[in-house]
Structures are given as C-alpha cells and as structure tokens.
Symmetry: C2
Subunit: 438 residues, 2 copies
C-alpha cells in the first residue's frame, strides 16, 4: 500500500480514459504543461486524453484552501511562476488535482459537475512548459561517453575527468522547441580533412540524441551553492529531450570551446513535466561505482542520493521515413534505453552545477546527455548506432540510415512501469526534419 | 562636417557636464541603460553626469511624433522591448534625445524647462541593460587564441579551424551581473596532475577577461539565417564585459565539451549600451587577412564589412588591491588593448551564429572573447600576462599577482577618440572579488 495516496494504483479517476491500461497519463501521473487554445495559453495537467485547465479550476474555486500564492501562478502562460514557488507548492497542487480527478472523493464529485475544467487533448496545442532562462546539457551516460570517445580517441576513450566531474556545458535556450515542431536541416562549416579547408552547406550527418531533461524549481542566489542533500528539492520533474546534433559541423567546430552551432539549431522537448512526486515509485539506487572507479567527491556524495538517486525510466527512439509514410507503414524502433544506469544522478548534476555559486532559476532546463547502454540496441544516437555512419541501420523496407534524411520523423517515448504501481508515461518528444533553406 | 548631426562635435548640450572634455557621455554618445531609483526601474540615456528618464520624457510629450511603438517600450524595466523594435527605432529615439539635449534646438529649449527629465547619475543604481535570453562568448582575438594555445599546445598553438570559424560557445545568462556587483570566488574541482585525482575547494587561479559585448536587436525566426550584409542591422550597440574565469577549474573540466563552471559563477557587464550609431565615426576596416591566411567563406564575406567592420575602441584594465585601498593609493593599469584588430568582426560573429538557423533574440548578448594584442602590455587576462602564473605582475607597491586575490577590484574602461570627433566612452565595468563561501 503506497504511503502517498497519489501513487495508489487502485484509485480510479472519473475521467474514463485515465483508467485505460496503456495511457501515459493515469490519475497517478498528473504532469504539468502549457496548452494553447484559440491563442490563449494556459497551465494544465494531463489526465487520460484530457487536459485539466488550472486557471478554470482556480476560477471555479477548486483550489480554495491551498497556498494563496498558487492562484496567480496558475494564471500565467508558462510554468515559471509555479516553478518559482518550489516543489512543495507543486506537490500540493498535484495532490489537490488528484482528489479533484478521483472517482470517489467529494472534490471529485464537485469537479465532475464543472463543465469548464476539462478539454480534449486533441483540441489543444502544446507549448514549451517553461520559458527556459538557461539550458544546460550534461554528459551523464558513461556508455555514451565511452562509445563517442572510442571513435575519436581509440587509445583513450574516457577522459581522466569523466569519473570525477559531471561534465556539462551550456546549451542554447532560444532554439528549444516543443514536440511536434518541424526541425530545419542546418547549414554549417564542415571539413572532410581534420585540417580543413572547410566548405559551407547543409549538414550531411544530422543526428538525434535521446535524453531526459529536468526542469528546475526555486532559485539559489548567485554566489550560493546547493548541497547534494537538497539538490532534488530543486528539481520539479522530468521531460524527454531530443538534442538534435549535426555531427560534421560538430567535429569541425568543437575545439577548443565545445559544441556550438552543431547543436543550437533545435532541441525538442516533450510538453508534459512529469513530477518527481509521480516518479517516486520508480526511484532506484544510483549506479554503484566499481572497485576501479573513484568515489564521488564529498560535495557529490549523499546517502539518500546513493539509495534513491536513480529513476527507472524506459526509453525508446522511433523513426518514420517519408517512404514509410507513403507506404502507410508504421514507425520503426531504432533503439531502447534505460535512464536507471546513468553514471551521474540528477541530484549530482544539479549540485555540481551550483557548486561554483551559479544561480539556477525556476524554469532552467538540465539535459542528461545522450542515454546509452552497453548493448548495441541501447545506443542513444545514430553516431553510436552506426559507428559514425560506417554501419548504417537497415530498416524493414530496406532503406538505410547512416544519419537522418529530410522528412524523417524521430520520436522519443518514455515510461515507468513496475508491479504494484500504475504506469507513468511521458508522452511524446517528436520532430520531423525539413530540408535545408538554400 | 559629419553627415549625421548627432556626431557633430561642435554641437553643445544644455547639460553642462556633457560638454566637459573627459566625459564618457557627451551629447554625441547618448547610450541606453536601465536605472533604478527607489525600487522603480526605468529606461534612461546617459548625458554627462545625468540620466535622461525616458519614461518621464514620454509622459512629458517629448517623444510625440515618433513611432508609436516606442511609447510602451520606453515604459519597460529592461531594454528588451526597445531592442525588439530594431536598430532604426533606437536610432530615431537617440536622434530625438540629441535634439532634446542640444543647447540650440526648440526641443532643447522645451526639455530644459522640464524638471522631471534628468536625474543625477549618482542618485541612481544601474541594472543590467537587458534580460539576456542567451549569452554567447566568442574567441575573436587571434592573439588571445595564439597566446593561450601556445601554453597548452606549444607545438600547435592555433587550431586548424580558427582562421575559418568564428569560434564561440554558449555562456551562462543567469550569472550576468551589472558593473559594481561583488563577485564571489568560486569553489570547484581542480587537479594538479592532468590525470587527477581532483580536489574540491576555492579556485586558486581566478582571472578576468577583457571583452567587448554586443547586444542583439530584432529577431530572426528559428530556421532562418542572417546574411553578413544585414548582420550589423541586428546589433544595437556595445558594452564592456569582464568574463571572470577560474583557470584551474577550467583546465580540469573543459574537455570535451568546453568551459562550464569555470565561467558561470559571474560575468560583469557595463551598464550603458553605446549604440553603433554613436560609434559610426570610429569604424575602421576589418583586419586584413595575410597572404598565408584563408579568405573567409562567402557567408562571412562582405565588402562593407571589410571596409568598416572594425571598431576602434581603446581598452584598459585596472586593478586596485586591498593594500592599495588601505594606503589610499589609486588603481594601477594592468594592460591596454584595442578592439580594432580583432580577427573576426561583430558582423561575422553574428552572421556565423545565425548561419545554422539559430534564432537570435532582442537582448541576447554576444561577447567578443578576450581582447589581446601582440605586445605583452596588450594581453587581456592574467593567464596571458603572467604566462599561467609563471611571471607574476609586480605592482607599484611591491605586491605580486599571478592571479587575483580576495578584495581585488578589477575595472575595465573603454573609449573611442579621434581628431574631429567627440570622445565616446563606455563608462565602467567593475567588480570586487569577495572570499569564497566555505
């Protein structure tokens, strides 16, 4: 029996579609997002195939008795004001939504009679959950770092800092787009020879990267850090991320300051922020360090983080090419992955990020970096799957992909499942490539 | 005789301090900034030792007849709305301010009688000019790249991409601070040996970086580029930037994804945005490529950019240590520099940035990277000046500095001067280091 009623798989919703086995959004999930209808953007919670309009719920008095600061925050056009209130406020709101959407509560009986509360998911357009002040991308899968390192430095695949530092870098916030947004193939400088000369044109090595993203709640003032024990209190929840990458541009530009235009043309984010509260039943121990691996430094070390720092999320990447669409063939899975085996936990990434006094603001987004596993079918990008294009993926219709082609649609899916808990899904992180602008 | 009256050095202001020889803010400058008085932030223009309150000017009818879109924009608490209107709107506003502040115009006669318009600079607190959506830092001084490269790769100081690619990377927007803000010495991982093991503690190699920053005007939609011929139409103006750097943290963390926590603890920005209009008399040819240097690729090549892509800004870095303050000794100059000899122009940096379709938004900040010259006295950071600490700077009082000490104050100054033009100054970009939080 779960301690928290919001995790209890036996509690049903009066929204019938939320009780269907395969839904990403059962009563136990209740992720936050921003939807738009008729040009009016509002904050909502996904439930089955419906969206709960939080502004309408507030106006209908359904949030009476909660922290009064929530009332203006749910009236905003992004989640930032809610995220600024911190995790406890979001948890209280989710708890109230749970009672409102439950089949057998007084709040549920009242909400069921209020016709203003729910909209069909199919009637709304989703937006990015938050206005992202800063987007940081980590590199937290050691398998990804090893696979990529082996291509560029076969004698020395993993750099000496990797097992000590949760490596990350600043990404581009302006080009974050919500799932469903078309992604234009970028132009850029590429060079066949390592010493140049380069040419300028459309990338020929367009790749996806399977990632999980964390949205920041609350704010630490500039000059103050966040102890590892408090780090998760600063993470509101998770989304799926596709950090599109132009590998040929990247190879030519990235020394000495890191990836830049090879990444900044687009990063796709799934629209529903799945809270750490909803993910509570799926927490697992952090990856155990091997005997040959150093212990994390004390500022990255915490007993609770070791015991529960992992999140067991199953991930998949699917592709659908123009030829598949023309033949009415379904999408095909390129890879699977698991978020449970990341080398660094979310808490370690956040604590490291703030360890120099960097202020993390509500709505900031932290990407995990490509999630890869040890098996070939667990490599989270084409660079790894095809060994830099040398071993193309062969699709069921005979098409080959070393890298992505124009018109290809890439979808990331993610979910959590285990016995005794309701399945929690992330929805979809999807993008279709459109040809370069020439 | 200048074609544009706003450049005419013979026109005087009725604000007496604007006519003094040494002022940074004569009638020919008129930079934009955001000031705060009694908690109320407003947009202003610097004139001598005064600030023109643009909201008050609007309310007093002084902007009547200008683009009506300016009226709400000058009522904001940042420059972003003004920057969104684009360079022509800013230029029109500056032109009107010029007539309002001129001694012999009808607009000047009227403004002089309006007691609501001017505040003493000493009565206001300056803020960052804009809410910066994304901060990008370039690496546009080849002398800096050579000096730093020689320390890390003596056999191969300049990487093969440098003369083709305006190298840049994403910086941290949240930790941008306005001149005068205290900067806390960051903690971080450092390692004496290249292979580790690291320790965690206060940086022992805290450095400044002398840079010039450009604020973006207007917006290109995601997926569209900005031709080099149009690139300067997207730059509103320039500021001074100190991109504080922790060299020991940087050396350990920066492979393979670039600098991260070694930079993200603070970046100081001067408060007054000096418009490209004001800098018009100081435009110089772009750096000429040598016979052994490749021509820029066509997307970075433009006749006007070659003829006028440079800006002849004189720069200086000054230090004042706690011992100097205790002895009431003045600050001491560490280095001089010139922005005229940068390898890449501002237009090339912006065109490159958008060449992959990356959307640049109003208020985005582009840093030039450290401005260094060929002489020892022109090296724009201590890493270069002291050769990684091996040759400490000796100050007049006998103190030595390999890197910065707690309590050290670093000030960057910048100005443009030439015969037949009024001196245009940038004000100050200043920060005092405070001890690490332990």
């Amino acid at each position: 029996m779960p301690r928290d009623a919001t995790h209890d798989p036996a509690i049903l919703s009066w929204v019938e579609s939320a009780n269907a086995g395969g839904t990403d959004f059962p009563l136990q999930n209740l992720p936050f997002g921003v939807f738009e209808q008729g040009g009016d953007a509002r904050v909502g919670i996904a439930i089955g195939d419906r969206v709960l309009d939080l502004r309408a719920a507030r106006d209908g008095g359904h949030f009476d008795g909660l922290d009064p600061a929530l009332a203006p925050a749910v009236g905003q056009r992004t989640l930032n004001a809610l995220l600024a209130l911190g995790r406890p406020a979001l948890a209280a709101l989710r708890g109230r939504a749970h009672r409102m959407l439950s089949a057998d509560t007084p709040e549920g009986t009242r909400a069921r009679r209020d016709a203003t509360l729910l909209l069909p998911n199919s009637d709304v357009t989703m937006r990015l959950p938050a206005a992202v002040g800063d987007y940081t991308d980590f590199y937290a899968s050691v398998e990804h770092a090893m696979n990529v390192g082996a291509m560029f430095r076969p004698e020395n695949p993993l750099l000496p800092n990797y097992r000590h530092v949760p490596i990350g870098y600043h990404g581009r916030a302006s080009s974050l787009v919500v799932s469903g947004t078309e992604v234009r193939r970028p132009l850029g400088q590429t060079s066949a020879a390592p010493a140049g000369p380069p040419r300028f044109g459309p990338t020929e090595r367009l790749d996806y990267e399977l990632e999980v993203g964390a949205f920041v709640a609350g704010e630490n003032p500039l000059g103050t850090s966040v102890p590892i024990a408090d780090a998760e209190s600063r993470i509101a929840g998770l989304v799926l991320v596709n950090d599109w990458s132009a590998r040929d541009i990247q190879a030519w530009e990235y020394q000495p300051l890191g990836p830049f235009l090879s990444k900044s043309f687009a990063t796709t984010v799934s629209p529903w922020l799945v809270t750490l509260e909803a993910l509570e039943p799926f927490r697992v121990p952090a990856r155990v360090r091997g005997a040959d691996e150093p212990a994390p430094l004390p500022y990255l070390s915490d007993a609770t983080d070791r015991e529960r720092g992992g999140v067991d999320i199953s991930l998949e990447v699917w592709i659908r090419t123009p030829a598949m669409r023309a033949a009415d063939a379904p999408a095909e899975r390129l890879s699977r992955g698991s978020f449970a085996r990341m080398y660094w936990t979310l808490g370690q990434m956040l604590a490291h990020h703030a360890s120099n006094g960097c202020n993390l603001r509500p709505g900031d987004l932290l990407g995990s970096g490509t999630v890869s596993g040890v098996e070939r079918g667990e490599r989270g990008c084409l660079l790894e799957l095809t060994k830099r294009g040398a071993e193309p993926v062969v699709l069921a219709n005979g098409e080959r992909r070393s890298f992505l082609g124009d018109g290809d649609e890439v979808s990331i899916r993610g979910w959590c499942e285990r016995t005794g808990a309701a399945r929690i899904g992330f929805g979809e992180c999807r993008g279709v490539l459109i040809p370069a602008a020439l």
